[in-house]
Amino acid sequence: MWSKLSAYLRKYNIMRTIPILNIKTENQTTKTITFNDKLCSRAKPGQFIMLWIPRVDEIPLSIMNSQKGEVSVTVKAVGSATNSLNSMKKGQNIGVRGPFGNWFSTRSNKCLLIGGGVGIVPLYFLLKKIVGDDKQITFINGAKTENELLFMSSIKILCKNQTILSTTEDGSYGYKGIITESLTKILRQEKFDIIYACGPESMMRNVFDIAELYKIPLEASLERLMRCGIGLCGSCVIGQYRVCRDGPIFNSKQLRKIQDEFGFSRLDFNGKKIPI
């Protein structure tokens, strides 16, 4: 019943301290940080790493790309840890553990990927991996405004024979509105084998409800406060699951079991359940 994919690999959890190889600015708040790490470069789309900023914090981050020993994560500065990480310079040391967690399935043919804001990161990695596999892909991305739509030029190149639907809340690019409206619009016309989703939890909850309505299997990448990353501390518990160990990718069947919490509540640092 519990995914074998999330098996614990001891060597993956040993922290490796390595210099930052490259930093790319994506927009005012978001940067992509690249480093060399053999273990993380074997990561599959959907997996995450624990990244240590020495004497500051250690945070979970989705993997954005991995190839030839190089690994990239994309970080939006939202708090003290991410601000501090985004102010680091090339050559400075970071620590990494991982990759951890399960990953998106890649069996289905007609796929819909839907990502909100920085939630696009693991979906972009997935897109890169599956786009050459003779699949029919619809990529829906959304953000508040145009410059928050990440990786747009690469996505356009990758999806040149596929469909891209972009949505911005202020209408500065693509459709004006919220991302789930684009989803409903397309599902009224087309059927898909699977939906992959990542983004703010309220958005993903809406995606889940819509996917249930249209009876399309969903795989959603959940986010929770994390400490250990290996299923011990309980910080990321949702229902009977630990996001770090049983997730971070959850399918429709699992999401139904955590319906009461998914999109509504989470644990804070004290282990107290608080509304999302």
Partner: protein, 306 residues
């Protein structure tokens, strides 16, 4: 009806299996308790709960060293008042003993939290007088004979349910502290908490844990804690719960032969996931059968006969 050879008893608590969940691990959520109950866990010890809620330390709160972990979570917990609902809910849905781990920043706090936990429905309390990484609690009680005696006595005088004391291995002679705990009224002892430790990253030249120091757990500490249990069995008459690096059924048997009436699993959940409880129970069962023991209680302390 075929009798359950894994059945064991700790200070009046009836356990369907000797394999318990150790404190500090995964213990916020009743849904998760139910999940491991299905795996055959014999009893559950919650995360340590205090009077007020606590955020715990910044990350890194855990670092792996070979097959072991040093952790300094910093006792994050929602506080006893908020945890009341979880205790009540757990008692409704679980049919195994629920033991609430209790810490305090004063002897009075230990007493207040323990009393509340029992009132909310806990079957017993385990006093955390051995957390090695938070100032003014845990180890600072457990390493001080006089404070240790007073804390246990105070709780004992005010709760009607079993009081288990989780000892620290970070003392010169653990049997002295065990004797004090039993004199103060401890109904059972958990041996032991983690070993005070640290790790330094040589590239950045910095300590890894945000708290610098933490507690070492997992397979590397097993021989040390096994020795503690062996010594304690010679010294005290109350039941001992072994806890320290137990990862498989062989480790569990070893601890019971040394004198543990039950064992606690923590770190092994990371190494083996939740199936570890079922795996260990199955292993113990076949060992008992192979060696022709009727039940698990027959092997407790057997290695003392030499």
């Amino acid at each position: 009806m075929k009798s359950n050879s894994l059945e064991t008893h700790i200070a009046g608590l009836h356990l369907n299996s000797p394999t318990m969940l150790a404190s500090g691990i995964m213990s916020y959520s009743v849904d998760f308790f139910q999940r491991i109950a299905k795996e055959g866990v014999g009893g559950i010890v919650t995360k340590s709960i205090g009077l007020e809620s606590r955020k715990g330390f910044e990350n890194p709160t855990i670092v792996q060293i070979n097959n072991g972990f040093i952790n300094a979570m910093g006792l994050p917990n929602p506080g006893i008042a908020s945890y009341a609902n979880e205790i009540k809910k757990a008692k409704n849905v679980l049919n195994i003993p629920l033991i609430v781990s209790v810490y305090g920043f004063s002897i009075e706090e230990y007493e207040t939290v323990a009393k509340k936990a029992i009132n909310y429905g806990a079957d017993a309390v385990e006093l955390n007088v051995s957390c090695p990484h938070v100032k003014d609690t845990g180890l600072e009680i457990g390493q001080n004979p006089e404070k240790l005696f007073r804390a246990i006595k105070k709780v004992k005088n005010n709760v009607k349910k079993p009081v288990i004391v989780k000892l620290s291995p970070n003392v010169t002679n653990i049997t002295e502290f065990a004797t004090i705990a039993v004199e103060a009224g401890a109904d059972a002892l958990t041996a032991t908490n983690t070993i005070h430790a640290m790790a330094i990253d040589i590239e950045s030249t910095k300590p890894i844990l945000s708290n610098i120091f933490g507690g070492f757990s997992g397979p590397p500490i097993k021989p040390i804690i096994l020795r503690c249990v062996y010594e304690l069995f010679k010294t005290v008459t109350v039941p001992i719960i072994g806890s320290g690096g137990i990862t498989n059924w062989r480790d569990a048997i070893e601890f019971m032969l040394a004198g543990a009436s039950a064992i606690q699993i923590g770190t092994a959940i990371a190494l083996q996931n939740t199936k570890v409880f079922n795996d260990i129970n199955k292993g113990i069962k076949s060992y008992l059968k192979k060696k022709r023991f009727k039940n698990v209680e027959q092997i407790v302390g057997l290695s003392q006969k030499i």
